[in-house]
Symmetry: C2
Subunit: 200 residues, 2 copies
């Protein structure tokens, strides 16, 4: 397999973003994460902060709510559908242009027909993730950290299922799944780099 | 993580067994696969062929059938429970005794409390697996190869859920999941060896 693009899906607090950044740096290719949000914002005319929120906060965990509360019931295109379509275009454009690492945003699904993809899922025990979230992001309001992590996971899972019709975190949907909590960030980066360069 | 034992769960036809054997050989440690069946047979007094069948053929894909057809409804211990308990003892005994690779038999679950475990799941696209099954195992009766692969997967999945109460193939249950069809057998062996020896 000739790899040009690495897509990283990740559980909240699993260091997937850090692993993506370090892998890209080592390989000398760009990493799209916050940059992706910026590009989607530019293309869509919406605020970055709004786009950032859209990935995880616009899809309700109860699918019925999505059906009845969305303007999709009016035969229309909801705002989240609009963001999705811009996101799709931006990701396809980037993939066409250059070798890179793309973190999140269902890039694995959007680019699924490409042959030059290495799709990755990063996860870790919830306790380790909660500890990392507390350490890296600090406290946020009064929500207990374990609850924050669980809520985020639930929203990512629902968003992913809603747009891709695939189960998030099912091994068969990725080329490589790694437990960053057990293996460590450095080992994960090493594995991805060696797979990308064909040295694994 | 100090690894002493690698457990390999695998989809049928994904070359998980071959990857296990080659990894063990490279690391200079034994690989338990057919040997495990032999040991369980010796300990239980049952025939190897019977044990081999028990992993995938005694649990019905419909859980209701398991409840109503098993002698468990009589408050008893079914034959499959007996095999499971011997299997559990044999696997714990091996793990206690020596560093090794163990293929299949829910060893990841049985040894889940150990700290020296590297748990692996090997999978591949169904077309690639069907092609491999045909090449390696040849034709068996008139069942189309794709149907054979799907049936085996279904039985492994059901057996796994029945005894472990975990979903088979969910990334979060393993330290490493690898798509052997996309990455190739050699890359999978390289990754496992480098993780085991701490060089990844």
């Amino acid at each position: 397999m000739a790899n040009r693009i690495i897509t990283i899906s990740r559980e909240f607090g699993s260091a997937g973003r850090t692993i993506g950044r370090q892998t890209a740096e080592r390989l000398g290719i760009p990493c799209y994460d916050a940059e992706l949000i910026q590009k989607i914002a530019e293309e869509s005319g919406l605020a970055s902060e709004y786009i950032k929120e859209k990935e995880e906060h616009s899809v309700h965990a109860n699918p019925l709510v999505n059906i009845f509360m969305s303007d999709r019931t009016n035969g229309g295109f909801s705002m989240q559908d609009y963001v999705w379509s811009v996101q799709r275009e931006v990701i396809c454009g980037i993939a066409q242009k250059e070798a890179c690492v793309i973190v999140g945003r269902c890039a694995d699904y959007i680019l699924r027909d490409r042959q030059d993809l290495l799709t990755v899922f990063i996860h870790a025990d919830i306790e380790k993730r909660a500890e990392r979230v507390e350490r890296v992001y600090g406290e946020m309001d009064d929500t207990p950290v374990l609850k924050r992590v669980k809520d985020k996971d639930k929203r990512r899972k629902t968003y992913h299922r809603f747009y891709t019709d695939r189960e998030w975190g099912v091994a068969q949907n990725y080329h490589v799944c790694l437990d960053s909590g057990a293996l460590g960030i450095e080992s994960c980066v090493n594995i991805l780099c060696s797979l990308y360069t064909g040295q694994a």
